[in-house]
């Protein structure tokens, strides 16, 4: 993928469209690879792929790539949304397409690295690698306020990343003092017994980094800006995939590396989740900007992930994972819709919209579908996720669960108001001509719809894949 990025950059010189085709092919290739690996089934230890290469033996840092069910699931999501991002920005970016695709490919490569690294420093490496091209995407191809948004995005994620780096090195050093081996391997560090106070501090280091990425209140403020200013492909990647790395980090690292400290932390984790759900929903409702609204709704949805994870029940964890996947699809689709609207109307303000259904019935129907999905209608993926989360959380704290359930209601309110303000009602007189979705966009949306319906009616596909990982959690007291 990295190589493809380089090739894409150069190929711009040959033909303007070539980079697009190249990166599209790359993503389709990755999707096919994921499918093949999935069908091939795991080996005895539950891994789908396993790579080990020495990198910096001096510090016990190695390239350890492993793909288990959870990783495979998320890499699959990444690949499909990669296709979506490329297709959706087919006509939007007109300058420097080569460099644009280069950045898109590099972000994606970083994300795949994050999902498959089992060496903590390697993980951190990819964690940061995916940020730089993302920063470029916002800073070069963004909208009017791009400088501010890009800077904010970079600062938030970098500083929280530094905290994580300190926590990683400290963890490794504690391990070194205990066992006298210097290693960054995830598996080697899993068994480490930590003292309560140290564990709590280190856990916080990781937690803050991941929660910033997720994002949850109170470190969410970079997200609306970054989303609003990013080009469509950027938003799709950001919402669909980058946020998921935060969730993945919490599930994979915080909980397993610091089981006891995390158990003690459950209340705060769930509370942050609930606050995110309600506050994010409240803010989403008061937005007038299509993209901002969707951005704030992401905060609310990611709150469910936190609630699910910190409920420490199998159901909650499964629900969180399903939510991650389903939200990836539905939000990506909504951001693409926002991008498509902006391209046609040159505005994201909902006051410039209204009654668009009459002009573009296909766009209206598609939006309807994804809004309803994101609100959590039974039969679609998001419902399964949120339902499982709430059932899981109910065992842990009834009060917090009830509050979180209110979030579902709030979601319905802002979701439907989005629909109403943009597509229904009287036709806005300022809208003169508008092109409906063509074959390219419709077929893309169809893929995402099928994915959501599939998760909705047959969640077993996802559950079975993530099951292996959730089982490991059961073993942890």
């Amino acid at each position: 993928m990295l190589a493809a990025g380089g090739v894409a950059w150069i190929s711009e010189r040959i033909h303007v469209n070539l980079p697009r085709w190249l990166s599209l092919l790359t993503f389709i290739g990755v999707t096919a690879w994921v499918g093949a690996v999935w069908l091939g089934g795991p080996d005895q230890s539950g891994l789908y792929a396993n790579q080990f290469i020495e990198w910096i033996p001096r510090f016990g840092i190695n390239l350890i790539f492993q793909i288990d069910g959870l990783s495979l699931l998320l890499i699959g999501l990444t690949a499909i949304l990669g296709v979506a991002a490329v297709v959706s920005s087919w006509t939007e970016t007109k300058q420097r397409t080569g460099f644009f695709q280069f950045n898109v490919l590099w972000v994606m490569a970083g994300v795949v690295g994050v999902f498959s690294s089992f060496d903590l420093l390697l993980f951190f490496f990819f964690w940061e690698v995916m940020l730089i091209p993302m920063y470029f995407l916002i800073a070069i191809w963004g909208h009017e306020d791009k400088e501010y948004a890009a800077m904010k995005f970079f600062l938030f994620t970098q500083i929280s990343g530094l905290l994580m780096l300190v926590a990683i090195i400290a963890l490794v050093w504690v391990n070194y003092e205990a066992t006298n081996t210097l290693t960054f391997s995830y598996e080697a560090l899993l068994g480490l017994e930590l003292e309560g106070s140290i564990a709590r501090l280190l856990m916080l280091g990781f937690f803050i980094a991941f929660v910033t990425k997720l994002p949850s209140v109170p470190v969410h403020t970079w997200l609306p800006d970054a989303h609003t200013q990013a080009p469509t492909a950027g938003s799709v990647i950001l919402a669909g995939i980058l946020l998921k790395t935060g969730a993945y980090g919490i599930i994979r690292f915080v909980i397993t590396l610091f089981p006891e400290a995390s158990q003690d932390f459950w209340f705060w984790g769930m509370l942050l989740g609930v606050i995110s759900i309600l506050y994010g929903g409240y803010l989403a409702y008061s937005q007038t900007d299509f993209k901002r609204l969707v951005a704030y709704s992401s905060i609310a949805h990611m709150g469910f992930v936190l609630v699910g994870v910190y409920s420490f029940t199998t159901l909650g964890m499964q629900g969180a994972i399903v939510t991650v996947i389903a939200h990836g699809f539905s939000t990506a689709a909504l951001f693409m819709m926002a991008g498509a609207l902006q391209e046609r109307l040159h505005s994201r303000e909902m006051s410039d919209m209204g009654g668009l259904w009459q002009k573009a019935p296909r766009m209206g129907a598609v939006t309807m579908f994804f809004v309803v999905a994101s609100v959590g209608m039974p039969g679609l993926g998001n419902f399964i996720g949120e339902f499982l989360v709430l059932v899981g959380a109910f065992n842990k704290s009834i009060v917090l669960t009830v509050l979180a359930t209110f979030g579902v209601v709030v979601a319905a309110v802002y979701g439907l108001s989005l629909m109403q303000r943009s597509f229904q009602g009287e036709l806005n007189p300022r809208v003169s001509e508008m092109q409906d979705f063509g074959v390219r966009e419709m077929s893309l949306m169809a893929v995402l719809m099928i994915a959501l319906i599939w998760i909705g009616v047959h969640p077993q596909t996802v559950l079975a894949l993530s099951d292996g990982f959730v089982q490991i959690l059961e073993v942890i007291p």
Binding site: I56, A139, M151, L155, Q158, I169, W173
Partner: protein
């Protein structure tokens, strides 16, 4: 003994030949070629005589002790100087009529820089330091077409003079307390109250002088002005070779004199380090001039490096490893950043050193812009660049010895740093305001590209560099 001193002799010979040659026949081309040749020959000679220091400590009088670490420092300084000399040829032509003495001075400064890592005695310390400083006075004020260099040169002359005087006074006090000038024997033995106080005063003054040379807060005020006024080639020399050499001798002093066993001194140094990291980065935020910005950033980087001073007094081998790795990467990225400025300014009378000047650089001059982005990312310590592993070493150093105040300041400083480094990147990415009309010399550009490649290659795979440094430390004479 003769063998180990060979590199020094070669450099001195080259220097004298050049000096005499210039007085007989002036030719920029010849002077330049001779300088390049001398630097390369000196660099290569290290490999031939490496055997001598690989297994043994070589003592050259009381003043110098040459070991493999000193050789490593020398090699790095020589390469850095070579890079700058390669830049200098085109750069100087636009700035002065008499270019030849520049090379004499820069060779002399390099000789001084090579003395410091091998120095074990206050006399050789001051000797090396002054050889560098005095050459620098002239170098900074070298261009005769403009006023800022003259102002900067004068500023540096006065302030550096005060710094050296403070340093000498400190040495005098230490001598009064311990009766020795040799690093390894300046402990106070009798433990009397009076001796202790003298020793403390001496060390305070000594560290003030050192802090001035390394431009650490609160002795940093001269840095931005001098960096700004000096011709970029000299600024780059000041930022890299001169500081690296002082740092090398500080490391040795700390190890041999075991100076950090005193709580008072170690607390004071910790305070200086924290202040440098935070204040250096804070002041850099508001700069609109690239050279001033890099000046503040170098203040911060020297503050980061002080972490190693603490590590080295407890864990010498990891300390040296971190120090050497950090210095090498700091050299590479600083030279890359300055290299872009030098390359852009080479063909014009004035220097292209404002943030406006680099606006849209990536689109008008893709290679230079890409190098600048790589250098900025590396200075900020972002992965994929060698700067990340340098910072990683420092984090490891800080955490392994539990020096939490320093680690906190490192995080804080790096966070602030990202802000202004990213601003550089943003300016290179924005739409170009006007077409940059200057042409860029191919030699300068290809060197900066090489440096940027080094940043990225070692950023992806630092193992060769780590292995090389560990090989140097296999027989650690001073450890």
């Amino acid at each position: 003994m003769f063998q180990a001193g060979l590199p020094y002799l070669i450099l001195t010979t080259g220097l004298i030949v050049l000096m005499v040659g210039v007085s007989i026949h002036r030719s920029h081309q010849v002077a330049w070629s001779l300088t390049v040749l001398t630097l390369i020959a000196t660099f290569i000679s290290h490999f031939f005589v490496y055997e001598a220091v690989a297994t043994d400590i070589v003592v050259i009088t009381e003043l110098f002790r040459v070991d493999s670490i000193a050789y490593f420092f020398n090699a790095v300084f020589l390469l850095a100087t070579l890079v700058l000399v390669l830049f200098a040829q085109v750069f100087l032509d636009r700035r002065t009529k008499f270019t030849e003495e520049f090379y004499v001075l820069i060779l002399a400064a390099t000789l001084g820089a090579m003395m410091l890592p091998a120095s074990t005695h206050f006399a050789s310390l001051i000797l090396g330091l002054e050889v560098i400083s005095i050459s620098l006075y002239a170098l900074i004020a070298y261009p005769d077409h403009a006023r800022p260099p003259l102002e900067a040169g004068l500023k540096y002359l006065v302030l550096s003079g005060v710094g050296t005087a403070t340093l000498l006074m400190g040495m005098a006090f230490i001598y009064a307390a311990s009766g020795n000038l040799d690093f390894s024997s300046i402990h106070i033995t009798d433990g009397s109250m009076e001796g202790e106080i003298l020793f403390l005063i001496g060390n305070t003054l000594f560290w003030c002088g050192i802090a001035f040379k390394l431009s650490l807060v609160p002795f940093h005020i001269w840095t931005p002005d001098v960096y700004h006024g000096a011709p970029s080639v000299v600024t780059a020399f000041l930022a890299t070779v001169s500081k690296g050499a002082v740092f090398a001798v500080v490391l040795r002093y700390v190890i041999e004199a075991d100076i950090l066993s005193s709580d008072t001194i170690s607390n004071a140094i910790m305070l200086i380090a924290c202040a440098s990291m935070v204040i250096g980065n804070l002041l850099a935020l508001l700069q609109n001039n690239l050279k001033r910005l890099l000046a503040y950033s170098s203040i911060a980087h020297m503050g980061y490096l002080l972490i190693v001073v603490f590590l080295i007094s407890v864990n010498t081998s990891l300390g040296y490893e971190s120090a050497l790795f950090y210095l090498v990467s700091y050299f590479v990225m600083t030279l890359a950043a300055f290299g872009v400025i030098i390359a852009l300014s080479s063909k014009s009378e004035t220097e292209v050193d404002t943030l406006n000047g680099i606006s849209g650089l990536l689109w008008t001059k893709p290679a230079a812009g890409a190098v600048l982005i790589a250098a900025a990312l590396s200075l900020a310590g972002i992965p994929l660049t060698v700067g990340f592993f340098a910072k990683y070493y420092l984090f490891t150093a800080g955490i392994s010895e539990g020096m939490w105040p320093l680690v906190v300041c490192l995080v804080l400083g790096s966070g602030l740093g990202i802000f202004y480094y990213v601003r550089i990147i943003f300016r290179t990415l924005e739409k170009p305001q006007e077409e940059l009309s200057v042409s860029v010399p191919w030699l300068g550009l290809s060197i900066t590209v090489l440096l940027a490649l080094a940043i990225i290659v070692f950023g992806l795979y630092p193992t060769p560099l780590v292995d090389l440094i560990r090989a140097i430390l296999v027989f650690p004479p001073t450890l």
